[in-house]
Protein backbone atom coordinates (compact mmCIF):
# COMPACT_ATOMS: atom_id res chain seq x y z
CA UNK A 1 0.00 0.00 0.00
CA UNK A 2 1.28 3.44 -0.95
CA UNK A 3 0.22 6.34 1.24
CA UNK A 4 0.76 9.87 0.06
CA UNK A 5 0.29 12.23 2.97
CA UNK A 6 -0.22 15.97 2.52
CA UNK A 7 2.61 16.20 0.02
CA UNK A 8 3.52 19.60 -1.46
CA UNK A 9 6.14 21.00 -3.78
CA UNK A 10 6.72 24.73 -3.87
CA UNK A 11 8.78 26.42 -6.57
CA UNK A 12 9.46 30.15 -6.15
CA UNK A 13 6.63 30.44 -3.62
CA UNK A 14 4.22 28.89 -6.10
CA UNK A 15 2.84 25.46 -5.28
CA UNK A 16 3.27 22.99 -8.15
CA UNK A 17 1.73 20.32 -5.99
CA UNK A 18 -0.51 21.50 -3.17
CA UNK A 19 -1.14 19.24 -0.17
CA UNK A 20 -2.09 16.10 -2.09
CA UNK A 21 -3.08 13.01 -0.12
CA UNK A 22 -4.10 9.68 -1.54
CA UNK A 23 -3.82 5.98 -0.89
CA UNK A 24 -2.99 3.41 -3.52
CA UNK A 25 -3.91 -0.21 -2.85
CA UNK A 26 -1.43 -2.96 -3.62
CA UNK A 27 -2.04 -4.68 -6.95
CA UNK A 28 -4.00 -1.86 -8.58
CA UNK A 29 -3.39 0.66 -11.33
CA UNK A 30 -3.90 4.29 -10.35
CA UNK A 31 -3.84 6.74 -13.22
CA UNK A 32 -3.04 10.36 -12.45
CA UNK A 33 -4.55 12.50 -15.16
CA UNK A 34 -4.39 16.25 -15.74
CA UNK A 35 -3.42 18.96 -18.19
CA UNK A 36 0.19 20.06 -18.54
CA UNK A 37 1.21 22.15 -15.55
CA UNK A 38 -1.30 20.40 -13.30
CA UNK A 39 1.51 19.00 -11.15
CA UNK A 40 0.89 15.36 -12.07
CA UNK A 41 4.48 14.62 -13.12
CA UNK A 42 5.89 16.45 -10.11
CA UNK A 43 3.63 14.38 -7.86
CA UNK A 44 4.92 11.17 -9.45
CA UNK A 45 8.55 12.26 -9.22
CA UNK A 46 8.18 13.02 -5.53
CA UNK A 47 7.22 9.41 -4.88
CA UNK A 48 10.66 8.11 -5.90
CA UNK A 49 12.27 11.35 -4.75
CA UNK A 50 13.53 12.52 -8.10
CA UNK A 51 12.02 15.68 -6.64
CA UNK A 52 12.24 16.22 -2.92
CA UNK A 53 8.86 17.24 -1.44
CA UNK A 54 8.73 20.64 0.24
CA UNK A 55 6.47 19.15 2.88
CA UNK A 56 4.51 16.00 3.55
CA UNK A 57 5.64 12.39 3.22
CA UNK A 58 5.16 9.21 1.24
CA UNK A 59 4.96 5.79 2.86
CA UNK A 60 5.45 2.57 0.92
CA UNK A 61 4.11 -0.43 2.86
CA UNK A 62 4.38 1.70 5.98
CA UNK A 63 8.00 2.77 5.44
CA UNK A 64 8.60 6.51 5.07
CA UNK A 65 10.58 7.06 1.84
CA UNK A 66 12.96 9.57 3.37
CA UNK A 67 14.46 6.96 5.71
CA UNK A 68 16.83 5.77 2.98
CA UNK A 69 19.10 7.44 0.39
CA UNK A 70 17.29 8.42 -2.80
CA UNK A 71 19.12 6.06 -5.13
CA UNK A 72 18.49 3.08 -2.83
CA UNK A 73 14.79 3.96 -2.74
CA UNK A 74 14.67 4.25 -6.54
CA UNK A 75 16.11 0.75 -6.98
CA UNK A 76 13.01 -0.55 -5.22
CA UNK A 77 10.61 1.44 -7.39
CA UNK A 78 10.25 0.76 -11.10
CA UNK A 79 10.38 3.82 -13.32
CA UNK A 80 9.34 4.00 -16.97
CA UNK A 81 9.11 7.23 -18.93
CA UNK A 82 8.02 8.64 -22.24
CA UNK A 83 10.66 8.01 -24.89
CA UNK A 84 11.77 4.89 -22.93
CA UNK A 85 15.16 6.33 -21.85
CA UNK A 86 17.04 3.13 -22.63
CA UNK A 87 20.83 3.15 -22.48
CA UNK A 88 21.78 3.28 -26.17
CA UNK A 89 25.22 1.78 -25.52
CA UNK A 90 23.90 -1.30 -23.74
CA UNK A 91 22.18 -4.32 -25.31
CA UNK A 92 18.52 -5.02 -24.59
CA UNK A 93 19.52 -7.71 -22.10
CA UNK A 94 21.90 -5.40 -20.26
CA UNK A 95 19.29 -2.64 -20.18
CA UNK A 96 16.74 -4.91 -18.56
CA UNK A 97 19.40 -6.24 -16.19
CA UNK A 98 20.35 -2.74 -15.02
CA UNK A 99 18.53 -2.75 -11.69
CA UNK A 100 19.15 -6.44 -10.81
CA UNK A 101 22.83 -5.71 -11.40
CA UNK A 102 22.68 -2.71 -9.06
CA UNK A 103 21.05 -4.95 -6.48
CA UNK A 104 23.80 -7.53 -6.87
CA UNK A 105 21.76 -10.42 -8.27
CA UNK A 106 23.74 -13.43 -9.49
CA UNK A 107 24.43 -13.75 -13.24
CA UNK A 108 22.14 -16.77 -13.64
CA UNK A 109 19.26 -15.23 -11.75
CA UNK A 110 19.56 -11.99 -13.73
CA UNK A 111 19.73 -13.80 -17.04
CA UNK A 112 16.71 -15.93 -16.22
CA UNK A 113 14.77 -12.81 -15.25
CA UNK A 114 15.72 -11.02 -18.48
CA UNK A 115 14.50 -13.97 -20.55
CA UNK A 116 11.33 -14.24 -18.48
CA UNK A 117 10.49 -10.58 -19.03
CA UNK A 118 11.27 -10.62 -22.75
CA UNK A 119 8.98 -13.64 -23.12
CA UNK A 120 6.29 -11.88 -21.06
CA UNK A 121 6.47 -8.94 -23.50
CA UNK A 122 6.22 -11.29 -26.50
CA UNK A 123 9.83 -10.75 -27.57
CA UNK A 124 11.87 -13.88 -28.29
CA UNK A 125 14.84 -13.74 -25.86
CA UNK A 126 17.27 -15.40 -28.27
CA UNK A 127 16.39 -12.90 -30.93
CA UNK A 128 16.31 -9.72 -28.86
CA UNK A 129 18.64 -10.18 -25.89
CA UNK A 130 21.78 -9.03 -27.69
CA UNK A 131 20.26 -6.35 -29.89
CA UNK A 132 20.77 -2.66 -29.21
CA UNK A 133 17.93 -0.19 -28.59
CA UNK A 134 18.54 1.63 -31.88
CA UNK A 135 17.81 -1.62 -33.72
CA UNK A 136 14.29 -1.91 -32.28
CA UNK A 137 10.99 -0.36 -33.34
CA UNK A 138 9.38 2.30 -31.15
CA UNK A 139 6.91 -0.17 -29.67
CA UNK A 140 9.67 -2.67 -28.88
CA UNK A 141 11.83 0.02 -27.26
CA UNK A 142 8.90 1.02 -25.09
CA UNK A 143 8.31 -2.59 -24.04
CA UNK A 144 11.97 -2.99 -23.11
CA UNK A 145 11.68 0.24 -21.09
CA UNK A 146 8.78 -1.20 -19.11
CA UNK A 147 10.54 -4.56 -18.78
CA UNK A 148 13.57 -2.77 -17.31
CA UNK A 149 11.31 -1.02 -14.82
CA UNK A 150 9.79 -4.35 -13.74
CA UNK A 151 13.05 -6.32 -13.66
CA UNK A 152 13.64 -6.41 -9.92
CA UNK A 153 9.98 -7.07 -9.04
CA UNK A 154 9.59 -3.62 -7.50
CA UNK A 155 7.02 -2.79 -4.81
CA UNK A 156 5.70 -0.08 -7.08
CA UNK A 157 5.98 0.87 -10.73
CA UNK A 158 5.86 4.55 -11.67
CA UNK A 159 5.13 5.40 -15.30
CA UNK A 160 5.30 8.92 -16.71
CA UNK A 161 3.37 9.12 -19.99
CA UNK A 162 4.89 5.78 -20.99
CA UNK A 163 2.88 5.50 -24.19
CA UNK A 164 3.05 9.16 -25.20
CA UNK A 165 5.48 8.64 -28.05
CA UNK A 166 3.64 5.70 -29.66
CA UNK A 167 1.20 5.81 -32.55
CA UNK A 168 -2.45 4.97 -31.71
CA UNK A 169 -2.41 1.33 -32.82
CA UNK A 170 0.84 0.47 -31.05
CA UNK A 171 -0.35 2.42 -28.03
CA UNK A 172 -3.58 0.41 -27.77
CA UNK A 173 -1.54 -2.79 -27.90
CA UNK A 174 0.92 -1.48 -25.29
CA UNK A 175 -1.98 -0.58 -22.98
CA UNK A 176 -3.50 -4.02 -23.37
CA UNK A 177 -0.08 -5.59 -22.68
CA UNK A 178 0.36 -3.50 -19.57
CA UNK A 179 -3.06 -4.48 -18.27
CA UNK A 180 -2.37 -8.17 -18.96
CA UNK A 181 1.06 -8.09 -17.34
CA UNK A 182 -0.20 -6.13 -14.36
CA UNK A 183 -2.92 -8.73 -13.79
CA UNK A 184 -0.41 -11.56 -14.18
CA UNK A 185 2.20 -10.08 -11.82
CA UNK A 186 -0.13 -8.30 -9.44
CA UNK A 187 2.00 -5.15 -9.71
CA UNK A 188 1.08 -1.86 -8.12
CA UNK A 189 1.27 0.83 -10.78
CA UNK A 190 0.95 4.62 -10.74
CA UNK A 191 0.76 6.06 -14.22
CA UNK A 192 0.67 9.69 -15.32
CA UNK A 193 -1.12 10.73 -18.50
CA UNK A 194 -2.92 13.71 -20.00
CA UNK A 195 -5.23 11.35 -21.90
CA UNK A 196 -8.53 10.72 -20.08
CA UNK A 197 -9.34 7.89 -22.48
CA UNK A 198 -6.16 6.12 -21.39
CA UNK A 199 -6.96 6.84 -17.73
CA UNK A 200 -10.43 5.32 -17.98
CA UNK A 201 -9.19 2.39 -20.00
CA UNK A 202 -6.27 1.46 -17.72
CA UNK A 203 -7.11 2.71 -14.26
CA UNK A 204 -8.67 0.81 -11.41
CA UNK A 205 -8.69 4.25 -9.87
CA UNK A 206 -8.34 7.61 -11.56
CA UNK A 207 -6.90 10.68 -9.84
CA UNK A 208 -7.59 14.01 -11.53
CA UNK A 209 -5.11 16.84 -10.88
CA UNK A 210 -5.78 20.49 -11.59
CA UNK A 211 -3.55 23.42 -10.64
CA UNK A 212 -1.48 21.32 -8.23
CA UNK A 213 -4.50 20.00 -6.36
CA UNK A 214 -6.08 16.57 -6.42
CA UNK A 215 -9.64 17.42 -7.42
CA UNK A 216 -11.09 13.92 -7.63
CA UNK A 217 -9.95 10.39 -6.89
CA UNK A 218 -12.26 7.50 -7.64
CA UNK A 219 -13.15 4.65 -9.95
CA UNK A 220 -13.46 5.50 -13.65
CA UNK A 221 -17.25 5.09 -13.42
CA UNK A 222 -17.46 7.56 -10.50
CA UNK A 223 -15.35 10.07 -12.37
CA UNK A 224 -17.57 9.84 -15.45
CA UNK A 225 -20.92 9.75 -13.65
CA UNK A 226 -20.22 12.20 -10.85
CA UNK A 227 -17.46 14.60 -11.86
CA UNK A 228 -16.54 16.62 -8.79
CA UNK A 229 -15.81 19.89 -10.59
CA UNK A 230 -16.57 21.47 -13.97
CA UNK A 231 -12.91 20.84 -14.82
CA UNK A 232 -13.31 17.09 -14.33
CA UNK A 233 -16.54 17.16 -16.32
CA UNK A 234 -14.64 18.90 -19.06
CA UNK A 235 -11.86 16.30 -18.90
CA UNK A 236 -14.23 13.35 -19.22
CA UNK A 237 -15.66 15.03 -22.29
CA UNK A 238 -19.28 16.13 -22.65
CA UNK A 239 -20.37 14.26 -25.77
CA UNK A 240 -18.27 11.15 -25.22
CA UNK A 241 -19.37 10.61 -21.65
CA UNK A 242 -22.08 7.98 -22.26
CA UNK A 243 -19.76 6.08 -24.59
CA UNK A 244 -16.93 6.18 -22.07
CA UNK A 245 -19.28 4.92 -19.42
CA UNK A 246 -20.40 2.07 -21.67
CA UNK A 247 -16.79 1.17 -22.41
CA UNK A 248 -16.37 0.31 -18.70
CA UNK A 249 -19.25 -2.15 -18.49
CA UNK A 250 -18.97 -5.69 -19.86
CA UNK A 251 -21.77 -7.13 -21.98
CA UNK A 252 -22.21 -9.89 -19.39
CA UNK A 253 -23.83 -7.32 -17.05
CA UNK A 254 -26.86 -6.92 -19.34
CA UNK A 255 -27.46 -10.47 -20.57
CA UNK A 256 -31.11 -11.38 -20.84
CA UNK A 257 -33.01 -14.32 -22.32
CA UNK A 258 -34.60 -13.93 -25.74
CA UNK A 259 -34.03 -14.39 -29.43
CA UNK A 260 -31.39 -12.59 -31.45
CA UNK A 261 -29.89 -13.27 -34.84
CA UNK A 262 -26.58 -12.71 -36.58
CA UNK A 263 -22.99 -12.85 -35.40
CA UNK A 264 -22.69 -13.05 -31.57
CA UNK A 265 -20.74 -10.61 -29.37
CA UNK A 266 -18.38 -11.88 -26.66
CA UNK A 267 -19.62 -11.70 -23.07
CA UNK A 268 -16.43 -9.95 -21.92
CA UNK A 269 -16.65 -7.28 -24.65
CA UNK A 270 -17.71 -3.81 -23.49
CA UNK A 271 -21.18 -2.36 -24.00
CA UNK A 272 -19.58 0.24 -26.24
CA UNK A 273 -18.45 -2.54 -28.57
CA UNK A 274 -21.97 -4.03 -28.47
CA UNK A 275 -23.59 -0.66 -29.20
CA UNK A 276 -21.23 -0.10 -32.07
CA UNK A 277 -22.07 -3.55 -33.45
CA UNK A 278 -25.83 -2.85 -33.17
CA UNK A 279 -25.53 0.44 -35.04
CA UNK A 280 -23.21 -0.92 -37.67
CA UNK A 281 -25.26 -4.02 -38.54
CA UNK A 282 -28.68 -2.38 -37.97
CA UNK A 283 -29.77 -4.88 -35.30
CA UNK A 284 -31.77 -4.21 -32.11
CA UNK A 285 -30.42 -7.26 -30.29
CA UNK A 286 -27.19 -9.26 -30.41
CA UNK A 287 -26.63 -12.86 -29.31
CA UNK A 288 -24.05 -13.04 -26.52
CA UNK A 289 -21.51 -15.84 -26.58
CA UNK A 290 -19.18 -17.15 -23.92
CA UNK A 291 -16.49 -19.60 -25.04
CA UNK A 292 -18.35 -20.05 -28.32
CA UNK A 293 -21.75 -20.95 -26.78
CA UNK A 294 -24.62 -18.50 -27.08
CA UNK A 295 -25.81 -17.78 -23.54
CA UNK A 296 -28.39 -15.05 -24.15
CA UNK A 297 -28.76 -11.67 -25.80
CA UNK A 298 -28.13 -7.99 -25.23
CA UNK A 299 -30.58 -5.41 -26.57
CA UNK A 300 -30.23 -1.85 -27.79
CA UNK A 301 -32.88 -0.46 -25.36
CA UNK A 302 -31.05 -2.09 -22.43
CA UNK A 303 -27.77 -0.53 -23.52
CA UNK A 304 -29.47 2.84 -23.94
CA UNK A 305 -31.01 2.65 -20.49
CA UNK A 306 -27.64 1.82 -19.00
CA UNK A 307 -25.93 4.70 -20.79
CA UNK A 308 -28.33 7.20 -19.28
CA UNK A 309 -26.33 6.73 -16.10
CA UNK A 310 -26.21 10.00 -14.20
CA UNK A 311 -29.04 12.45 -14.64
Amino acid sequence: MIEIDQISKVYDSKAAVDAVSMTVQTGTITVIVGTSGSGKTTLLRMINRLEEPTSGEVRINGVVTTTMPGHILRRRIGYAIQGHGLFPHHSVGRNIAAVPQLLGWSKDKTRARVDELLTLFSMDPDQFRDRYPAELSGGQQQRVGVARALASRPDLLLMDEPFGALDPIIRARAQADLRRIQRALGSTIMLVTHDMEEAIHLGDRVAVMDGGRLVQHGTPAEIIQHPATPFVADMVGGVDRPLRLLSLIPVSDLIEDGPATGAPVAAQASLRDALSECLWTGRDALPVARDGDVIGRVTLPAIRARAQGAT
Binding site: H71, I81, H84, L86, P88, L102, E135, R148
Partner: protein
Protein backbone atom coordinates in the same frame (compact mmCIF):
# COMPACT_ATOMS: atom_id res chain seq x y z
CA UNK B 1 37.41 1.22 -48.33
CA UNK B 2 39.85 -0.77 -50.47
CA UNK B 3 41.36 2.40 -51.90
CA UNK B 4 41.65 3.70 -48.36
CA UNK B 5 43.46 0.59 -47.14
CA UNK B 6 45.84 0.78 -50.10
CA UNK B 7 46.59 4.48 -49.58
CA UNK B 8 47.11 3.88 -45.88
CA UNK B 9 49.62 1.08 -46.57
CA UNK B 10 51.51 3.18 -49.12
CA UNK B 11 51.73 6.20 -46.81
CA UNK B 12 52.80 4.09 -43.85
CA UNK B 13 55.52 2.37 -45.89
CA UNK B 14 56.71 5.73 -47.20
CA UNK B 15 56.88 7.09 -43.65
CA UNK B 16 58.86 4.13 -42.33
CA UNK B 17 61.26 4.29 -45.27
CA UNK B 18 61.78 8.05 -44.84
CA UNK B 19 62.58 7.60 -41.18
CA UNK B 20 64.66 4.41 -41.25
CA UNK B 21 66.35 4.57 -44.67
CA UNK B 22 66.48 8.29 -45.59
CA UNK B 23 69.42 7.54 -47.92
CA UNK B 24 67.03 5.86 -50.39
CA UNK B 25 65.46 9.21 -51.12
CA UNK B 26 68.65 11.18 -51.81
CA UNK B 27 67.75 11.34 -55.52
CA UNK B 28 64.40 12.96 -54.75
CA UNK B 29 65.71 15.58 -52.33
CA UNK B 30 68.92 16.37 -54.23
CA UNK B 31 67.35 19.03 -56.50
CA UNK B 32 66.35 21.02 -53.40
CA UNK B 33 69.73 20.91 -51.67
CA UNK B 34 72.31 23.68 -52.17
CA UNK B 35 75.02 22.80 -54.69
CA UNK B 36 77.54 20.39 -53.20
CA UNK B 37 75.75 20.70 -49.84
CA UNK B 38 74.41 17.70 -47.82
CA UNK B 39 71.08 16.26 -49.02
CA UNK B 40 70.11 13.97 -46.18
CA UNK B 41 70.06 15.12 -42.55
CA UNK B 42 72.65 13.10 -40.65
CA UNK B 43 73.39 15.06 -37.47
CA UNK B 44 70.94 12.89 -35.57
CA UNK B 45 69.08 9.74 -36.50
CA UNK B 46 65.65 10.55 -37.91
CA UNK B 47 64.27 7.52 -36.09
CA UNK B 48 65.27 8.79 -32.65
CA UNK B 49 64.00 12.29 -33.51
CA UNK B 50 60.65 10.84 -34.63
CA UNK B 51 60.29 8.70 -31.52
CA UNK B 52 61.19 11.65 -29.32
CA UNK B 53 58.73 13.82 -31.19
CA UNK B 54 55.95 11.25 -30.76
CA UNK B 55 56.89 10.69 -27.13
CA UNK B 56 56.51 14.40 -26.35
CA UNK B 57 53.16 14.55 -28.14
CA UNK B 58 51.84 11.45 -26.39
CA UNK B 59 52.99 12.61 -22.97
CA UNK B 60 51.51 16.09 -23.40
CA UNK B 61 48.25 14.74 -24.86
CA UNK B 62 47.75 12.20 -22.09
CA UNK B 63 48.30 14.90 -19.47
CA UNK B 64 46.03 17.34 -21.31
CA UNK B 65 43.33 14.67 -21.64
CA UNK B 66 43.43 13.81 -17.95
CA UNK B 67 43.27 17.44 -16.87
CA UNK B 68 40.72 18.59 -19.46
CA UNK B 69 38.33 15.66 -18.95
CA UNK B 70 38.56 15.92 -15.17
CA UNK B 71 37.88 19.65 -15.40
CA UNK B 72 34.95 19.07 -17.77
CA UNK B 73 33.47 16.47 -15.40
CA UNK B 74 33.79 18.83 -12.44
CA UNK B 75 32.16 21.82 -14.12
CA UNK B 76 29.29 19.75 -15.51
CA UNK B 77 28.31 18.57 -11.99
CA UNK B 78 25.66 20.73 -10.32
CA UNK B 79 28.16 21.79 -7.64
CA UNK B 80 30.77 22.88 -10.20
CA UNK B 81 28.50 24.67 -12.65
CA UNK B 82 29.56 28.06 -11.27
CA UNK B 83 33.12 27.40 -12.44
CA UNK B 84 32.18 26.65 -16.03
CA UNK B 85 32.81 30.20 -17.38
CA UNK B 86 36.07 30.52 -15.42
CA UNK B 87 37.45 27.20 -16.62
CA UNK B 88 36.47 28.04 -20.20
CA UNK B 89 38.40 31.31 -19.91
CA UNK B 90 41.47 29.60 -18.54
CA UNK B 91 41.62 27.01 -21.30
CA UNK B 92 40.96 29.68 -23.94
CA UNK B 93 43.89 31.67 -22.63
CA UNK B 94 46.02 28.55 -22.91
CA UNK B 95 45.02 28.35 -26.53
CA UNK B 96 45.47 32.04 -27.38
CA UNK B 97 49.10 32.18 -26.20
CA UNK B 98 51.37 31.74 -29.23
CA UNK B 99 53.44 28.58 -28.66
CA UNK B 100 56.65 30.49 -29.23
CA UNK B 101 55.71 32.84 -26.39
CA UNK B 102 55.03 29.91 -24.11
CA UNK B 103 58.43 28.49 -25.00
CA UNK B 104 60.16 31.80 -24.37
CA UNK B 105 58.44 32.22 -21.02
CA UNK B 106 59.02 28.62 -19.95
CA UNK B 107 62.73 28.47 -20.74
CA UNK B 108 63.87 30.58 -17.77
CA UNK B 109 61.86 28.36 -15.46
CA UNK B 110 62.48 24.95 -16.98
CA UNK B 111 65.72 25.45 -18.90
CA UNK B 112 66.41 24.37 -22.46
CA UNK B 113 65.25 20.98 -23.69
CA UNK B 114 61.97 19.10 -23.67
CA UNK B 115 60.42 20.74 -20.59
CA UNK B 116 59.18 23.99 -22.14
CA UNK B 117 57.89 22.12 -25.21
CA UNK B 118 55.95 19.76 -23.02
CA UNK B 119 54.35 22.70 -21.21
CA UNK B 120 53.44 24.41 -24.48
CA UNK B 121 51.94 21.25 -25.98
CA UNK B 122 50.02 20.54 -22.79
CA UNK B 123 48.51 24.04 -22.67
CA UNK B 124 47.72 23.88 -26.35
CA UNK B 125 46.05 20.51 -26.05
CA UNK B 126 43.67 21.49 -23.24
CA UNK B 127 41.10 23.55 -25.10
CA UNK B 128 39.89 21.18 -27.85
CA UNK B 129 39.59 18.31 -25.39
CA UNK B 130 37.90 20.43 -22.74
CA UNK B 131 35.42 21.98 -25.18
CA UNK B 132 34.51 18.61 -26.66
CA UNK B 133 34.20 16.95 -23.27
CA UNK B 134 31.84 19.74 -22.17
CA UNK B 135 29.80 19.33 -25.35
CA UNK B 136 29.73 15.56 -24.95
CA UNK B 137 28.71 15.69 -21.31
CA UNK B 138 26.01 18.35 -21.73
CA UNK B 139 24.28 17.02 -24.85
CA UNK B 140 23.39 13.55 -23.56
CA UNK B 141 19.86 12.32 -24.36
CA UNK B 142 17.63 13.71 -21.60
CA UNK B 143 15.34 10.68 -21.39
CA UNK B 144 18.34 8.42 -20.85
CA UNK B 145 19.75 10.66 -18.12
CA UNK B 146 16.36 10.87 -16.44
CA UNK B 147 16.00 7.09 -16.58
CA UNK B 148 19.53 6.60 -15.24
CA UNK B 149 18.61 8.53 -12.11
CA UNK B 150 15.12 7.08 -11.98
CA UNK B 151 16.24 3.45 -11.85
CA UNK B 152 18.62 4.17 -8.99
CA UNK B 153 22.14 4.82 -10.28
CA UNK B 154 24.09 6.96 -7.86
CA UNK B 155 26.16 9.89 -9.17
CA UNK B 156 29.35 7.95 -9.66
CA UNK B 157 27.56 5.06 -11.40
CA UNK B 158 25.72 7.50 -13.63
CA UNK B 159 28.98 9.19 -14.60
CA UNK B 160 31.00 6.05 -15.18
CA UNK B 161 28.33 3.81 -16.71
CA UNK B 162 26.27 6.26 -18.72
CA UNK B 163 27.70 9.75 -19.13
CA UNK B 164 31.34 9.03 -19.95
CA UNK B 165 30.64 6.08 -22.28
CA UNK B 166 28.06 8.11 -24.18
CA UNK B 167 30.32 11.18 -24.38
CA UNK B 168 33.39 9.15 -25.34
CA UNK B 169 33.16 9.53 -29.14
CA UNK B 170 32.90 13.32 -28.82
CA UNK B 171 35.77 13.44 -26.32
CA UNK B 172 37.90 11.33 -28.67
CA UNK B 173 37.28 13.84 -31.44
CA UNK B 174 38.72 16.52 -29.16
CA UNK B 175 41.74 14.38 -28.36
CA UNK B 176 42.28 13.77 -32.06
CA UNK B 177 42.29 17.51 -32.85
CA UNK B 178 44.59 18.15 -29.93
CA UNK B 179 47.06 15.42 -30.96
CA UNK B 180 47.28 16.68 -34.52
CA UNK B 181 47.85 20.26 -33.37
CA UNK B 182 50.52 19.00 -30.97
CA UNK B 183 52.30 17.05 -33.74
CA UNK B 184 52.76 20.29 -35.67
CA UNK B 185 53.48 22.51 -32.70
CA UNK B 186 56.15 20.17 -31.34
CA UNK B 187 58.45 21.15 -34.24
CA UNK B 188 58.75 24.64 -32.75
CA UNK B 189 60.15 23.01 -29.61
CA UNK B 190 63.45 22.54 -31.39
CA UNK B 191 64.09 26.29 -31.14
CA UNK B 192 64.71 25.65 -27.47
CA UNK B 193 66.69 22.47 -28.08
CA UNK B 194 63.96 19.87 -27.68
CA UNK B 195 64.82 16.76 -29.68
CA UNK B 196 62.00 16.77 -32.21
CA UNK B 197 61.66 16.61 -35.96
CA UNK B 198 61.62 20.41 -35.87
CA UNK B 199 65.41 20.16 -35.57
CA UNK B 200 65.60 18.99 -39.19
CA UNK B 201 63.37 21.78 -40.44
CA UNK B 202 65.17 24.47 -38.46
CA UNK B 203 68.55 23.22 -39.64
CA UNK B 204 67.25 23.47 -43.19
CA UNK B 205 65.99 27.00 -42.65
CA UNK B 206 69.27 28.13 -41.06
CA UNK B 207 71.45 26.73 -43.83
CA UNK B 208 69.09 27.53 -46.68
CA UNK B 209 68.73 23.80 -47.34
CA UNK B 210 65.23 23.16 -48.65
CA UNK B 211 65.93 19.41 -48.77
CA UNK B 212 66.13 19.32 -44.94
CA UNK B 213 62.95 21.36 -44.61
CA UNK B 214 61.13 18.98 -46.93
CA UNK B 215 62.41 15.92 -45.13
CA UNK B 216 61.33 17.11 -41.71
CA UNK B 217 58.06 18.52 -42.98
CA UNK B 218 57.18 15.37 -44.90
CA UNK B 219 57.73 13.10 -41.91
CA UNK B 220 55.69 15.31 -39.58
CA UNK B 221 52.94 15.60 -42.19
CA UNK B 222 52.76 11.86 -42.78
CA UNK B 223 52.69 11.19 -39.03
CA UNK B 224 49.83 13.64 -38.62
CA UNK B 225 47.78 12.21 -41.49
CA UNK B 226 48.23 8.60 -40.37
CA UNK B 227 47.52 9.28 -36.71
CA UNK B 228 44.46 11.39 -37.60
CA UNK B 229 43.17 8.58 -39.76
CA UNK B 230 43.85 5.92 -37.14
CA UNK B 231 41.98 7.91 -34.50
CA UNK B 232 38.97 8.44 -36.75
CA UNK B 233 38.85 4.69 -37.25
CA UNK B 234 39.09 4.14 -33.50
CA UNK B 235 36.15 6.52 -32.97
CA UNK B 236 34.06 4.73 -35.59
CA UNK B 237 34.96 1.35 -34.12
CA UNK B 238 33.99 2.42 -30.60
CA UNK B 239 30.73 3.98 -31.75
CA UNK B 240 29.83 0.84 -33.69
CA UNK B 241 30.71 -1.42 -30.82
CA UNK B 242 28.67 0.64 -28.36
CA UNK B 243 25.56 0.95 -30.48
CA UNK B 244 25.71 -2.50 -32.03
CA UNK B 245 26.12 -1.25 -35.59
CA UNK B 246 22.78 0.55 -35.68
CA UNK B 247 24.41 3.96 -35.46
CA UNK B 248 26.20 3.35 -38.74
CA UNK B 249 22.93 3.08 -40.63
Amino acid sequence: MKVGTFARAVLATLLVALVVRPGWFAWAFAPFAPTSGPVIYERASLLSLSLNHLGLVVLASVAATLVAVTLAILVTRPAGAAFLPLSRTITSIGQSFPPVAVLALAVPALGFGSGPTLVALFLYGLLPIFENAITGLTTLPTATMEAARGIGLNRWQKLSQVELPLALPVILTGIRLSVVIALGTATIGSTVAAKTLGEVIIAGLLTNNTAYVLQGGLIVGLLAVLIYDAMIRLETYLTLRMYGGAAAR
